[in-house]
Symmetry: C2
Subunit: 303 residues, 2 copies
């Protein structure tokens, strides 16, 4: 059965509602394309849990700031479609910005507290754009379950909260960060890095490994974690600037003074032309590089 590609939002909605009316369960993965194994892990899980798998590929302009990388964000529709098809995705929704935001569009969703800290403090309007487009995508796809990667941990918690607050009838499922063999968190933005920058970028992962050492040593003072992790970034040549290194509650994202299992240590830094983020959900996710779990090869990479 060939993969179905739909561009028109209302055609997509009709198609998805009809599937639900037939009693089928739907798993949905919203993406910005330039797919990597992080995305594919979500497709794989969605395929396991649902009758139908739908994916959206949409580089959403409203979540980019005026000086951000919207225009150079990597795009690879043909490669993306091949990957989606290989993973057993049934429907790919690829709208244009004009179709998602027609003239006169003026409705926005805000998650007032969860949008503030961390990336929200450095990317004004970013999470408003995310909340708005994800609301619209969920109402178009009307899925039983929607899948998000914990690489964007704040995004996941914000969407989880939004879906509950607005009573969107979709279960939100999150999946762990997928890493390269050396530990770099997979990201479409890694494509911006030169080989030298690629080496500098590993500082983020090393910072998290330092956090894990502190955790294993029983250190619970957030200020010590922040200082020690920052030091790893600061000592790495090629890390141009640190947006934040923070330890927060893993659910509310409020600041904590005492770190423990379930806390979040999150960081954002600039390397070359790329703004990179990474995080560790303390004690909940592994930072070990375990093939088949969080680095390739995966079940979905096999022929």
């Amino acid at each position: 059965m060939a993969i179905k590609v739909i561009h028109d939002p209302l055609v997509f909605q009709q198609h998805m509602l009809a599937l639900r009316m037939e009693g089928q369960t739907v798993g949905f993965v919203p993406t910005m394309g330039a797919l990597h194994d992080g995305h594919l892990s979500l497709f794989h899980r969605a395929r396991e849990e649902n009758d139908v798998v739908a994916v959206s590929i949409f580089v959403n302009p409203t979540q980019f700031g005026p000086n951000e990388d919207l225009s150079r964000y990597p795009r690879d529709p043909e490669g993306d479609l091949a990957k989606a098809e290989a993973l057993g995705v049934d429907v790919v929704f690829m709208p244009t910005p004009e179709a998602m935001y027609p003239p006169g569009f003026q409705t926005f969703v805000e998650v007032t507290e969860l949008q503030k800290p961390l990336c929200g403090a450095f990317r004004p309007g970013h999470f408003r754009g995310v909340a708005t487009v994800v609301t619209k995508l969920l109402l178009l796809a009307f899925p039983t379950r929607a899948y998000f990667g914990r690489k964007d941990f704040q995004q996941w918690r914000l969407i989880e909260r939004m879906v509950r607050d607005l009573a969107i009838p979709t279960a939100i499922v999150s999946m762990p960060i997928i890493r390269e063999e050396d530990g770099l968190a997979m990201s479409s933005r890694n494509r911006y890095l030169s080989p030298e920058e690629r080496r500098s970028a590993l500082a983020l992962y090393r910072g998290l490994l330092r956090a894990r050492e502190l955790f294993e040593a029983g250190e619970t003072r957030a200020e010590v974690w922040v200082r020690e992790v920052r030091k790893v970034l600061e000592e790495t040549p090629g890390v141009r600037g640190i947006d934040y290194v923070e330890v927060r509650d893993g659910v509310t994202l409020e600041p904590v003074e005492t770190v423990g299992r379930g806390s979040l240590v999150a960081l954002a830094a600039h390397v070359g032309p790329a703004r990179l983020i990474d995080n560790w959900w303390v004690g909940m996710d592994t930072l070990d590089l375990v093939p088949g779990y969080n680095i390739p090869p995966f079940p979905w990479s096999e022929p």
Copy 2:
């Protein structure tokens, strides 16, 4: 078949989704209770057009400002239920504020342009509260069609825009203002008026009749309309203050200099303890007092 009353949001959502999955069409009327013939005209239309009719009764705290009338807003759940039952309503959803806004609630919907003028300029946050609760109610009720009165003209246009922008799969239907026999637009807030204030309140309707005279005389200058309608309000003892008298585009609610068919003339004024609003959709709605059309008796008033 007895009317079904549901208090819990997720029980209501499950019930409504199950009806849609059975292939039934659903008409939904969100209200704040204290039902009058304006509401009942919506119930009647919903009953004519759908297999199932659902009504919500919820005095939504997030659309009231801190100095507004939330605490004294009229409440009459028993009378409301009797009226709903008499009109053939199948399901009444009556949640508590705590159920709609549980601890940690923080998601809000804004319609950035349509929320600004007219009542939006005098009631900061009002339309954010409206947009948020209506989004949530529509996602809970998941109706085929939802019904709104044109008494709240700006609210109708804002919800229409929001539903389109977010792709909420519901058709928005609006219905004309229902008036008392002397022309006062029906409103739950009319209950605040003493007999003397009740007479002063008629100034709003007289102002609109003056607008209609200008329309019939071929006057098209918005500034003349505003001046003439204001004069009617200003000359009426008991009209304490005028929030606005405005002529705007009937779709975008942007200011117009030239009035014509399809424009909106809208006014808001304080009479005694009540803030009253009224409007005329120029040439589209009648201001005539026609029994069976916009004053009682209605088909739905008969035994």
